[in-house]
């Protein structure tokens, strides 16, 4: 009886099966307009949101003013404060009580209170009068007072930075008389724009989100839509299936990297100091690691909904603990342990290093090796967990 004698070479057969799955996945993806759109829209929208709306450099906080002194000093002090651009004085109140009410109502976030005896206070204040001889800070009265809505910690922190407003200009001295205690030498990001730090970080977050999401549904979907029973009755091997499911999304990941860095560069002038090749290698390592993580989820989850929930379960710590939101060094030890277990953390270090500090792969080898090991381990785990059985 006739029988196909096709794959004398098992490597060729394996190659054909992987190719078959890759082509099939790409065709299905191309038919799925929504998913296809999301590949472009997710990085685009997130980048614009984080770049424009979510600005951690706080400026122009609406503030109120109580000026009981009504002196030339007070007017000059107010002008100096506004010149810092941190606050805009939008309301004027007659008394401290009235100002307090305004803060409680939420009309303004902060109020500057300048007492009637402002001139008197200034004259004894060492920041104004270097010769005042007043050295006992216990009894020293401040020049004025800030009333702040502490509910928003970011605003409160910005106002706190206004505490040490230098008074030299007010006293008629030039600023260079002011001798700083420390000298700060700023490496990288000289303008201190947070967007420079956010864009590379966003690369890690967006890739975590989309890559895990794509593959976490990959195996479950076949199961849910009833394709699995046919597929496992064919000669396809678990590892071939896993690799075939990953490869198309590597391409998708690279497209997203291009979008994020391209727009980051064009709109927000985020420099890419390091080599593009180094960046490509780092991105590929992370894309593979995230896709593998998704595959592992996919072999554990029973339904697509479960897969989605597990994706979110990974995504939240990736956003909070990877160093995207808070510096790794400032985290409690337990958080650092969790953080080290997330692929996003390792990529975050690599990408910030490459984009902002021109680091070479050699400098980042520990994170690179970690990501590679994670991918191989994850693939093996997923392939072992995947059984060509229904029971």
């Amino acid at each position: 009886m006739f029988e196909y004698r096709v794959n004398s070479n098992p490597l060729i057969a394996t190659w054909r099966r992987v190719a078959a799955i890759v082509v099939k996945e790409i065709r299905q993806l191309a038919r799925d307009r929504m998913t296809f759109g999301m590949i472009v829209m997710i990085p685009l929208v997130q980048l614009l949101l984080f770049g424009y709306a979510i600005n951690t450099d706080v400026r122009h906080i609406p503030a109120g003013l109580v000026d009981l002194s009504q002196s030339s000093y007070s007017r000059e002090l107010i002008a100096m404060t506004e010149a810092s651009q941190t606050v805009d004085f939008v309301r004027v109140y007659a008394s401290a009580q009235e100002a307090e009410q305004a803060i409680i109502r939420g009309d303004v976030k902060a109020v500057l209170y300048l007492p009637a005896d402002l001139g008197q206070r200034l004259s004894v204040h060492p920041a104004f009068n270097r010769d005042s001889g007043h050295s006992n800070s216990q009894t020293l009265q401040p020049v004025g007072q800030w009333l702040v809505d502490g509910g928003d910690t970011v605003i409160a922190a910005s106002i706190r930075s206004l505490r040490q407003l230098p008074l030299d200009t007010l006293a008629g001295r030039t600023l260079k008389d002011n001798v700083p205690t420390f000298e700060v030498v700023q490496f990288f990001n000289p303008e201190q724009r947070s967007v420079v730090n956010i864009v590379p970080g966003l690369l890690a977050i967006i890739l975590t989100m989309t890559m895990i999401m794509f593959t976490s549904a990959a195996i479950v979907r076949e199961r849910e839509q009833g394709n699995m029973e046919f597929l496992i009755a064919t000669p396809v091997k678990p590892m071939e299936l896993m690799i075939g499911k990953i490869v198309p999304y590597v391409l998708v990941g690279l497209i997203q990297v291009g979008i994020i860095l391209g727009i980051g560069h064009l709109l927000f002038s985020v420099p890419v100091r390091g080599g593009l090749l180094t960046l490509l290698v780092a991105a590929l390592l992370f894309i593979f690691a995230s896709l593998t993580l998704g595959l592992v989820i996919s072999t554990i989850a029973k339904t697509q909904l479960q897969a989605m929930q597990m994706t979110v379960f990974i995504l939240m710590p990736s956003i909070l603990l990877s160093g995207f939101m808070f510096p790794y060094e400032a985290m409690p030890q337990l958080a650092q342990v969790i953080s080290e277990a997330l692929p996003a953390t390792h990529f975050m270090r690599m990408v910030r290093g490459i984009v902002l500090r021109d680091a070479l792969l050699w400098d980042l080898q520990r994170d690179a090796l970690w990501l590679a090991a994670f991918t191989l381990g994850g693939l093996a785990f997923a392939a072992l967990r995947f059984k060509k059985r229904l029971d």
């Binding site: 054909r16 082509v23 029973e229 046919f230 009755a233």
Partner: protein, 323 residues
């Protein structure tokens, strides 16, 4: 090499406390079409999944094409084809894309794949819609596509799980022509069904109920060894007569067919025709040839769902008789 395509001893599968397949014995010769006939939930799909190596039997020995399962499941993949009960190809791929995918999975190179796919498209009359998405096909078209995919790699053994459940009688006949072609080329086919007319086409079949094999053999053998006499009563007020006869211990089952009542009288009854004549107040009685449906009813003690409306004897074939 054994001339049995499938040799199964005491195959059992439990799901928790439920026994889906209960100590099943099967000997299926090569080159035949073998049927699994039974109602919903009787264990047809579960049996087929064990025979394809997708489910592990709780106990029993399974040998398929001379290879032991589940140990040699992977080695058998190239030699068996499986058409699942539920359509399991990709809805968002076209007919051609689906078949090309399957061809590549079975290791055909691109030229072989193109030739084989073209051949199948022509054979199953799908070439005019080869770019249509599988999800938008009709039941009969889907079924032809699924059969094409299951036979693409020329398997020695083909499993078909209720292949014609969504197919009209005309297409069903056409479908069976293809099965006989395949069988003629040497393929052994195991097909599950709950249609009587399909079961009658098989070389041999097993009647399953609650995971237990109630009877097996060729349709003719089964009808010949039926443990009951088949009699038909003609007359009026058959509903009353039916409920009256159902009470009698001699009667295995009754089923109304239009103006006639088909009665299965147990073999142990002496002079069954005379006995029945005494029960029916002068209505006319006639002995008829047993049908496979009678065998089924006698074996399982079950009434078929549609026997009251479907055709009478085994003389015509157009009825869609369900179990």
């Amino acid at each position: 090499m054994s001339d049995l395509a499938i040799n199964v001893r005491q195959m059992t599968r439990c799901f928790g406390k439920n026994i889906a397949v209960d100590h099943l014995d099967l000997q299926i010769p090569r080159g035949t079409i073998y049927g699994f006939l039974g109602p919903n939930g009787c264990g047809k799909s579960t049996s087929i999944r064990m025979l394809t190596g997708l489910l592990t039997p709780t106990s029993g020995e399974v040998e398929v094409l001379g290879q032991r399962l589940p140990q040699y499941a992977e080695a058998l993949r190239l030699r068996i084809g499986y058409m699942t009960q539920k359509f399991s190809l990709y809805d968002n791929l076209s007919i051609r894309e689906n078949l090309s995918f399957v061809a590549q999975i079975y290791g055909l190179n691109s030229r072989q794949s193109r030739e084989r796919v073209n051949e199948l498209l022509a054979l199953y009359a799908l070439d005019k819609r080869q770019t249509q998405l599988a999800g938008s096909l009709s039941g009969g078209q889907k079924q032809r596509l699924a059969l094409a995919a299951a036979t693409l790699h020329h398997p020695n053994l083909l499993f078909l799980d209720e292949p014609t459940s969504a197919v009209d009688p005309e297409n069903r006949r056409e479908f069976w022509e293809r099965l006989f072609d395949l069988c003629n080329a040497g393929t052994t086919i195991l097909v599950s069904t709950h249609y009587m007319d399909e079961a009658e086409r098989c070389h041999a079949l097993a009647i399953l109920e609650n995971g237990i094999k109630r009877a097996d053999g060729s349709p003719a053998e089964l009808m010949a060894t039926l443990g009951a006499h088949v009699l038909e009563v003609e007359g009026d007020d058959l509903r009353t007569l039916k409920s009256q006869l159902t009470q009698c211990p001699q009667v295995l089952s009754t089923a109304q067919l239009g103006t006639r009542l088909r009665v299965l009288v147990r073999d142990q009854t002496e002079q069954p025709q005379q006995w029945l004549q005494a029960q029916v107040n002068g209505r006319r009685i006639e002995a008829v040839r047993p049908s496979l449906e009678d065998v089924f009813v006698a074996c399982t003690g079950q009434h078929s769902v549609s026997s009251a409306t479907a055709r009478a004897g085994s003389d015509s074939e157009q009825g869609e008789r369900h179990v």
